[in-house]
Each structure stands twice: as structure tokens, then as C-alpha cells.
Amino acid sequence: MSGARALQHAKRWPGWVLLVLVVAGLLAYGSTKDVGARTPEERVEEISKQLACPICDGETVYESRNTASISIRAEIRAQVTTTDAGDDEIIAYIVQQFGAQTQLLPRASGFESLVWVIPSVALVCAAVGLWFAFRRWRTAVDTVPDEQDRALVAAALAAGDGAGEAGDDT
């Protein structure tokens, strides 16, 4: 089998099967690989990115440099280094201590849950709408041009030949 024919053959199925196996293996290896424990500084950073500075204009505790954020970061650092609390527990503790306006992630309950629910509903509606649109389009050809229509188009094209401006490429 010549090289070109072997390549053509590989492009049918074997090459694709191999590709799927390689990608799945790499993803499985990469996403489960143990990267070691996070340093306290990295934990402080991640937690402070999840909290809003209570007195700023829309900045996170991580970004903000004002005194309120500095003291929240210090509190997070103390929690990280002196307790066994997990990230979520520390976030809950800070929200309790510094007020609900520090919470950047809306709750998944009550009225706030709408911010999660509405996009999901929109996605479903969009997918269903797209499916119906494709179905309708695939059966949409219900008119057939007659001779008169064709003559009209031919005349319009002929008339436009001289006057057409530069169009575009696609």
C-alpha cells in the first residue's frame, strides 16, 4: 500500500479511532494528575477571588487594595493557616462576618436561584427552537417558480449587469 493510500485509509476510521483514544487518555491523565497540595497563599488567592469587597465599586477582595479588603484577606489567611476549614466553609464564615454583600456567587435557592435557572431555560428554548427551525427549513420549499418568475429574475440580472458595484467574496 503506498503512503498516500495508507493515509487515505487512516483518515477513514483508524486514524480517528486512534485520535479519540489519544485525546481521551491525555485528558484523563491531565485532569486527574495529582498536582500536590495548594500553598496557603494559593488558597487565600482562590478564596479571595470568590468574595466581593464590601465597600468597593464591583471589585473582588482579591483585586481591591482598600483596607476592608486587606483585613478580609488577613482573616482568610488566618482561617487557612490556623483552621482545618475547607474553602466553602471559609467563604461562608467571611460572608457571615462581613455581610451578605461580600458574596459574589448568587445562592442556588430562593429568588436568587433565578440567575442560574433562567440561562438554563434559555439554553433549552434555544436548542428546541433551533431544532424546530431546522425541521421547518428542511420541508420549507413549498413554492415553485413559474416561467414568469424566471423571466423576471433573468431581466433583473441582465439589467443589473452593467450597474453592479463591487460586491464581496465569501
Binding site: 477513514r12 480517528w16 485520535l19 491531565g30 497563599e41 464591583g58 487594595r65 431546522f134
Partner: protein, 660 residues
């Protein structure tokens, strides 16, 4: 030379003349179209030029007031100071709401004049006439804003220098990018007025076919290019000025700039489906209306004080006016689309979802969903406050969680779509065309895993980015083989260069957000610390001062080489600390240094924060590629298609329907 006190008079006069000129121009144009009077059409031209001259005079008067420190004007008292360096005194024009509206007005009047000049021979055509009338009406609206709620030339009492005249916000007098980011972003925002105006004209005249699309495609492309560059420059500014080491924080102002970008991106893709297949007419009109309205809504959200943002730099009373303008645009546009509903029915049909048009549709749905999620997240705190009278914040954790999957699917579509033919694709064709791009993706993934990348989301992003990059390069190589250098020109091929830019931005964001390492050190002068494979030696810690600020700097030698100098400046007039990072950039990673509060020159102690951020430079190069690709896409390629060439779906012959 004019006396200083005349700036206000000159500015007000110019704005009044501009308002009158744009209103008269619009009315004259509408009257000319209705009476079919070509002589009346010619009278519109001087009005358009007069509006431009008025906008130029207003901006020059304000710049003159800023440069000469004309304290008789409230705006100069707000953003002017004797200590501001000349460059930042010049850019102070757009450092607060009133001056920003003047800049917007100037660009809008320029766009209007360019449209008028470009179509001067066809002004009697009702479609062009209505488009110009719409542009003049929008210009009049902004003149009205500049005269009323955002009057930059309002007189003020004699200044009390203890309370006023401190100059622009310190964040806006700290980096050269403030010279470029706002004007370029505004060129994008304002640029979408042109395709919007032609869309309204198409609806009013009933000529809703593909002609207006062909007329406006370059306008939309350039507006999109400027908006992209403006957003990327905004990210750069944030990175270089705010000192927190990031480029994007899902702040309301950032979101407001991204919203029209998303709908504009959807439009420049879906417009090809209409040109080619005569479909999606209502959708394309809606996208343009959405893009234009979102520029107004975004300005309302961020400039009216309803949402707080570190980038807002405003607390104006402009809200009701912008909201009113947004409402009028929306109601008029929807009413026109409803009125022309019968003419907007698509004559075309889609043969298969697995086709170029199918991919564009999916991309449009995703981009629209992306925009919807961001809009919802941005306004949701207002909704909660209105309903439950309590304040909540919706921030980056929400936006990251919601937009990550959408972004990944969009990257996948960018990989597959360029290989799809129009109408219908066979499995064999796809297996052939996507084979090497898919292996590019696998190779990229292997490389990423090889250098230690972890986590399913960033790994998937790298794999899809490699796949999409392979698909774009394949398309460019094939086009260059056929047509030489011209293979890089034209919408499809220029678009592939833009894709490469977007892919680089996506890779840069995925890598820098996922694999940044940071640490804080308290180090004495002469001491060295090690972190992430680098050494940091504190060479010197010292005080500095200039006319505007006092502060602390530290010279830090990285790996025993060149010293980098992060600083904290306290702008004395504001009492505000601004951290200025110092960054060692390379193609692979940035080392980003800041000094923190607690640094003491007296004891030679530096409190140092180090971020090691991979691949940030890819974001800036990606932005540049997007700009280059936009320019390439605007040049016609070799296979130019005339507007009169058949673009709608081919209609089957009777015998095909009956017999097959």
C-alpha cells in the same frame, strides 16, 4: 487668542448649532425623500458638515479649556488640575461622563460625515437617505445629551482649590494606554450606528433584501475590529494599571463593552448566511438593533450610577435620557420589523444542520446566549434590589461558571465550521478535511500535558484551540496555494486570521487564569527569595515624589539580571493609593511584581508580591492579529461576487420536486 471665559460660550454655541444642524438635516432628508425632491437632498450635505464642524469646535473648546485651566467651567474643575502632565490633561477630556459624551459626539459626527461623503452620489436613493436621516437623528440625540444632562460647558462658581481641581481620577493619569483605549473602544461602539442606520433604512423603505448588507459589511467589520481592539486594550490597561495581575474581572463596565461585541460577532457571521442563502433576515436585523441598543444600554448601566464599577468614573444624571433613547430605539426597531414582517420571510431553506450555515446558526445561538447570560448577571443585582430590597453582588465566579462551557463549545465550532461546506457535508468529506486539524488539537493537548498542565477545562480549551488553529491554518494554506498572497485577503481568509487571534486570546486567558502562581514575601534590602524557579533580589527600596504624588519604589532584580521597579503612589489630592506593577514579559510567561502596603524604605523592608502568569502575551498578540485579520477581511479577495449574483437558496425545478 480668545479669552478663557469664552470657552463655555464657544462650546455651548457649537452644541446648539450642531443640534440644530443635525435636526434640520434629518428633517430635510425625510422631507426630500417623501417629496422626491433631489434639490432638497443636496441641502442636507451642508447640515451634515455643519454638525461635524460643531462637534469639532465643541471638542477643541473643551481641550482648550483644559489646557488653559479655564476654571470657569465645572467640568474643568472636575477633571483639571495644575499638576496634571500635558498628556493626561489632554486625555482628561474623556476621563468623566460629560467629556466622554463629547468624544462620542465627535466620532458620531465623523462617521455621519464619512457616510454622507461616501454615498454623496446616491443620496437621492431613499435607502441611503433614510440611513443618513437616522444617523443625523442619533447625532442630534447626542448633541441633546451634551447640551442637557451632560453639559460639559456648564459654568461654575469660582473654584475652591481646597475642594476641587484635583485632575482626573489617578487611575486615568497613570498609563499611556488611556490615550488609546477609550477612543478606539468608542470608534467601535459608535461605528455600529452605521449598519444600524442602514438596517432601519432597509426596513422603512421595504428593501429588506441583501443590498443593504453588502453596503454595510465593511462598516460592521471595522466597527467590530475597533471594538475588539478597544476591549483588548482595556484588558491591557487593567493589567498594567490596576495592579491585581488580571486582565478581565467581569466588572459591569467590562461586561457593557463585551455585550455589543458578542452580538456584533454573531452578526458578522450570520450576515454571510443571508448573503449566501437569503435567510435569517429578521435575525440579522435584530442582531444589529441589539448591538446598537446594547451600546446605549451599556452606557446607561455604567454611567447612570445604577451599577457600581471601578471603571465608571461617573455619577451623572444621564440615566433617564439614555434609558429613554434605548426604549425608543427598541420600540421603533421592533415596530418596523413587525410592520415589514411579510417581506422579511426567508425565501431560503437549510438542507442540513451539518453545513456551514448550520454551524453559523449554532454559533449565533451560543453567542446570543453568552450575551444574555452576561446581561442577566450584570442587571440581576438591580432586579434583586427592586424585588427584595437587599443588595447582592454577582461576580466572576458566576460569570466564569456560566461562560466557560459556552466558550469551549464556541472554540469547538471555530474548529469545525471552516471545514464545512455550504448546504450539506458528507461524513467522508469531514473526516478528510478535519483529520489534520484534529491531530493538531491532539498534539496541542499532548504538549500541554507534557509541560504539566492539569484540569479538564483548560486542557479541553487547549485541545480545541489547537484543533481550531489547525483548521484556520489549513484554510489559509489552501487559499495561499491557490492565490498566493491574495489568499490572505477577503472575508473568509481574513476571518481565519481573526480566528487565529481569538484562539490566541482564548489560550492566553485559559493558561493565565488557570496556572498563575502568586506569593507574598517580606524581604530586606540585599536579600534574595526564590519562587516558581526564579530568584528575586531586593536591590533598593526608596521614597519618591512628584507634583501629584508621593510613594515608594523597590528595585527588584529578577534572576540576578535587570532590575524591575514596582511602585505604590499615593495621589495626594485624592488620598488614593495606586499600585503600579512592573512586568517582565515573554512569550511563555510574565513575571508581575507589585509592592504592597507595609513596604518601609526607612528599614529597607520590601513587602513584595510576585505573580508568575503564563502566556499573557498571547492575549495582546491575539488582539493585534484580530486587528490585522479585520483589515485583511475588508479587502476584497479574488473571487469577488457582485451584489446581483444569486445568493438566495436555489429553488428546485418542478420536476425535481415532482419526480424525486
Amino acid at each position: 487668542m480668545l479669552a478663557e471665559g469664552l470657552n463655555g460660550f464657544l462650546g455651548h454655541s457649537a452644541l446648539i448649532v450642531g443640534l440644530a444642524a443635525s435636526l434640520f438635516g434629518a428633517m430635510a432628508m425625510i422631507a426630500a425623500i417623501r417629496t422626491r425632491n433631489p434639490r432638497l437632498v443636496r441641502t442636507v450635505i451642508p447640515y451634515g458638515w455643519l454638525a461635524l464642524v460643531a462637534a469639532v469646535v465643541a471638542v477643541v473648546a473643551m481641550e482648550r479649556a483644559l489646557i488653559t485651566r479655564d476654571w470657569s467651567l465645572a467640568y474643568v474643575q472636575k477633571v483639571g488640575s495644575y499638576d496634571t502632565p500635558a498628556l493626561f490633561n489632554f486625555t482628561a477630556l474623556w476621563s468623566a461622563l460629560e467629556g466622554s459624551i463629547l468624544l462620542w459626539l465627535l466620532l458620531l459626527a465623523m462617521y455621519t460625515a464619512i457616510v454622507m461623503r461616501r454615498y454623496r452620489a446616491r443620496l437621492a436613493d431613499p435607502a441611503v437617505g433614510w440611513a443618513l436621516a437616522v444617523m443625523l437623528l442619533v447625532t442630534a440625540f447626542f448633541f441633546m445629551l451634551a447640551l442637557g444632562p451632560t453639559d460639559a460647558f456648564r459654568e461654575a462658581a469660582a473654584p475652591n482649590f481646597a475642594m476641587c481641581c484635583r485632575g482626573p481620577n489617578p487611575l486615568l493619569q497613570n498609563h499611556l494606554l488611556v490615550m488609546f483605549h477609550p477612543p478606539i473602544l468608542y470608534l467601535g461602539f459608535v461605528g455600529f450606528t452605521v449598519p444600524f442606520a442602514f438596517a432601519i433604512a432597509a426596513l422603512v423603505t421595504g428593501r429588506v433584501g441583501e443590498g443593504w448588507l453588502v453596503e454595510t459589511r465593511r462598516w460592521a467589520l471595522f466597527a467590530w475590529g475597533f471594538l475588539t481592539l478597544g476591549i483588548v486594550l482595556g484588558g491591557w490597561w487593567s493589567y498594567e494599571v490596576l495592579g491585581w495581575g488580571g486582565v478581565w474581572a467581569w466588572d459591569p463596565v467590562e461586561n457593557a463593552s463585551l455585550l455589543p461585541w458578542l452580538t456584533g460577532t454573531a452578526y458578522i457571521h450570520s450576515v454571510m448566511v443571508q448573503e449566501r442563502r437569503g435567510m435569517l433576515r429578521v435575525w440579522n436585523l435584530s442582531l444589529l438593533v441589539a448591538t446598537f441598543s446594547l451600546t446605549i444600554l451599556g452606557t446607561f448601566l455604567t454611567r447612570s450610577g445604577v451599577v457600581n464599577s471601578v471603571h465608571a468614573f461617573s455619577d451623572g444624571t444621564i440615566g433617564p435620557f439614555l434609558l429613554g433613547g434605548f426604549g425608543v430605539v427598541l420600540v421603533v426597531s421592533l415596530a418596523l420589523i413587525g410592520w415589514r414582517g411579510d417581506r422579511l420571510r426567508s425565501p431560503g431553506a437549510i438542507d442540513s444542520p451539518v453545513s456551514r450555515e448550520g454551524a453559523f446558526l449554532a454559533n449565533n445561538v451560543l453567542l446570543a446566549l453568552f450575551a444574555f447570560v452576561i446581561l442577566l448577571g450584570t442587571v440581576f443585582p438591580l432586579i434583586v434590589e427592586a424585588k427584595e430590597d437587599r443588595q447582592i453582588a454577582v461576580g466572576s465566579p458566576f460569570f466564569d461558571a456560566m461562560t466557560r462551557p459556552i466558550g469551549l463549545v464556541l472554540l469547538f465550532l471555530m474548529a469545525v465550521a471552516p471545514a464545512l461546506p455550504w448546504r450539506k457535508a458528507s461524513g467522508e468529506l469531514l473526516r478528510d478535511r478535519l483529520f489534520w486539524p484534529a491531530w493538531c488539537g491532539a498534539g496541542t493537548l499532548a504538549l500541554a500535558v507534557g509541560v504539566g498542565a492539569t484540569g479538564w477545562a483548560p486542557l479541553l480549551a487547549f485541545a480545541f484551540a489547537g484543533f481550531a488553529g489547525g483548521a484556520a491554518i489549513r484554510q489559509l494554506v489552501l487559499a495561499a496555494r491557490r492565490q498566493g498572497y491574495r489568499g490572505l485577503l477577503g472575508r473568509t481568509n481574513g476571518g481565519m486570521v481573526v480566528h487565529l487571534g481569538v484562539i490566541m486570546i482564548a489560550v492566553g486567558l485559559a493558561a493565565s487564569n488557570s496556572y498563575t502562581h502568586a506569593a507574598e514575601f517580606t524581604v530586606q534590602e540585599g536579600e534574595t527569595v526564590s519562587f516558581a524557579g526564579h530568584t528575586f533580589t531586593v536591590v533598593d527600596v526608596y521614597d519618591f515624589s512628584d507634583e501629584r504624588s508621593v510613594g515608594i519604589k523597590a528595585d527588584i532584580s529578577i534572576d540576578g539580571g535587570q532590575a524591575y521597579t514596582p511602585a505604590i503612589s499615593k495621589y495626594t489630592a485624592f488620598g488614593m493609593d495606586v499600585a503600579t506593577p512592573s512586568v517582565k514579559s515573554s512569550f511563555v510567561k510574565d513575571i508581575y511584581l507589585t509592592v504592597e502596603n507595609g513596604t518601609k524604605p526607612s528599614t529597607g523592608t520590601a513587602k513584595l508580591k510576585v505573580f508568575v502568569k503564563p502566556m499573557v502575551m498571547w492575549i495582546w498578540i491575539g488582539g493585534l492579529l484580530c486587528g490585522v485579520g479585520t483589515v485583511l477581511a475588508a479587502f476584497p479577495g479574488r473571487n469577488r461576487r457582485r451584489p446581483t449574483d444569486a445568493v438566495s437558496a436555489p429553488v428546485p425545478l418542478e420536476e425535481e420536486i415532482a419526480g424525486v
